[in-house]
């Protein structure tokens, strides 16, 4: 083997070893709750929903207001979550995580047959309940919520030179239906600053 060819081969092998077999742009799986997700300045990322939900759930549970319900788990309905950001977002990204966490805590069950503006989440359950009551010749019994959850998403954008800063504010209120009083309220903010989106934190 000629020395020049051997040296080239060795260099190529070393380069392959150093880079691994994957190229940088290959698609790969990353942990949705891990620190290697994409951070973008212009949108609410998966980790933002997660962190906001986590802080708000912790705040709600620490407030001990759920213990005041006459029976546990208390029934909660999700009311309107206003989106005042510039983005088209599905607010379920926040509320579903909160619902799941509260459900796992054993403190809250969410009704899926009542919704804001008469829009029910589970129409089949609502219709079946009505049908069942009709067939039995009874008046339909609807479990009314003890609590309602409402909120708002806000966005604030500022720029200094080439650096952009975006703050997303997640506000939630828990209201007792019987008196219309917000027994728990909190907000959490997530601020991102930079010149462009990046992978990892």
């Amino acid at each position: 083997m000629k020395p020049k060819f051997a040296a080239t081969l060795a260099a190529a092998a070393l380069a392959l070893l150093a880079t691994g077999c994957a190229t940088k742009n290959d698609a790969k799986y990353v942990d949705s709750q891990g620190p290697n997700t994409i951070v973008s300045l212009n949108s609410i990322n998966i980790q933002d929903w997660n962190n906001a939900a986590d802080k708000l759930v912790a705040s709600l549970l620490e407030s001990n207001v759920l213990e005041r319900a006459p029976s546990l788990p208390a029934v909660m309905a999700v009311s309107r979550i206003r989106n005042n950001t510039q983005q088209q977002v599905d607010t379920d990204a926040l509320t579903k995580k909160i619902r799941v966490a509260l459900n796992k805590s054993g403190k809250i069950v969410t009704t899926t047959t009542l919704g804001a503006d008469g829009k029910v989440e589970d129409a089949v359950a609502a219709d079946s309940g009505a049908m069942q009551a009709f067939m039995a010749g009874e008046k339909q019994k609807t479990t009314l919520p003890y609590y309602t959850l409402s909120g708002k998403l806000l966005e604030d954008r500022v720029r200094s030179g080439s650096t952009q800063q975006t703050t997303y504010t997640f506000q939630l209120s828990l209201t007792t239906v019987k008196d219309g009083l917000a027994v728990w309220e909190d907000e959490t903010q997530i601020t991102k600053q930079g010149q462009r989106s990046s992978v990892g934190w």
Binding site: Q33, A53, D54, A58
Partner: protein, 137 residues
């Protein structure tokens, strides 16, 4: 020559420390709080992070009747800000790790010599133990 050396050394020290600023604090001389401390065990795999960020204390409480809350107080040992991520895992009586719908890694930045607590509430009453993971950015 001596002056030049001293100036160079000062310049290098300044360059090394960057624009480091540390946090001054004041608190009650005799704290009224009576935390319930948790005896902990630590596994250090990143000695660099271990030197920068110290775990001062771990304490626990119960919220909403039966949910475990853990608070870990951290201290940045350096005068430079330190950004890192942390994650709480929750473990049931049978040793099984519980899935947390809002769990996951979270970002925190401690300013120079700052002491701050990170806390989490288990969303399941089954949680009896915890594991806090820290990772340098």
């Amino acid at each position: 020559m001596k002056l030049l050396l001293a100036t160079s050394a000062a310049a290098l020290a300044l360059l090394g420390s960057g624009c480091a600023t540390s946090v001054n604090t004041v608190s009650r001389s005799e704290p009224q709080a009576t935390p319930s401390y948790v005896a902990d065990q630590r596994v250090i795999t990143d000695s660099s992070l271990g030197r920068k960020v110290a775990i001062v204390s771990v304490n626990e409480a119960k919220v909403s009747g039966d949910l475990l809350k853990i608070q870990v107080t951290l201290e940045n040992r350096s005068t430079k800000p330190q950004a890192f991520t942390y994650k709480f895992d929750w473990i049931a009586t049978d040793g099984m790790e519980l899935s947390a719908p809002t769990g996951g890694w979270k970002q925190i930045q401690l300013e120079g010599r700052e002491t701050r607590a990170v806390a989490a509430v288990a969303t399941s009453p089954k949680a009896v133990d915890f594991r806090l993971k820290l990772r340098e950015n």
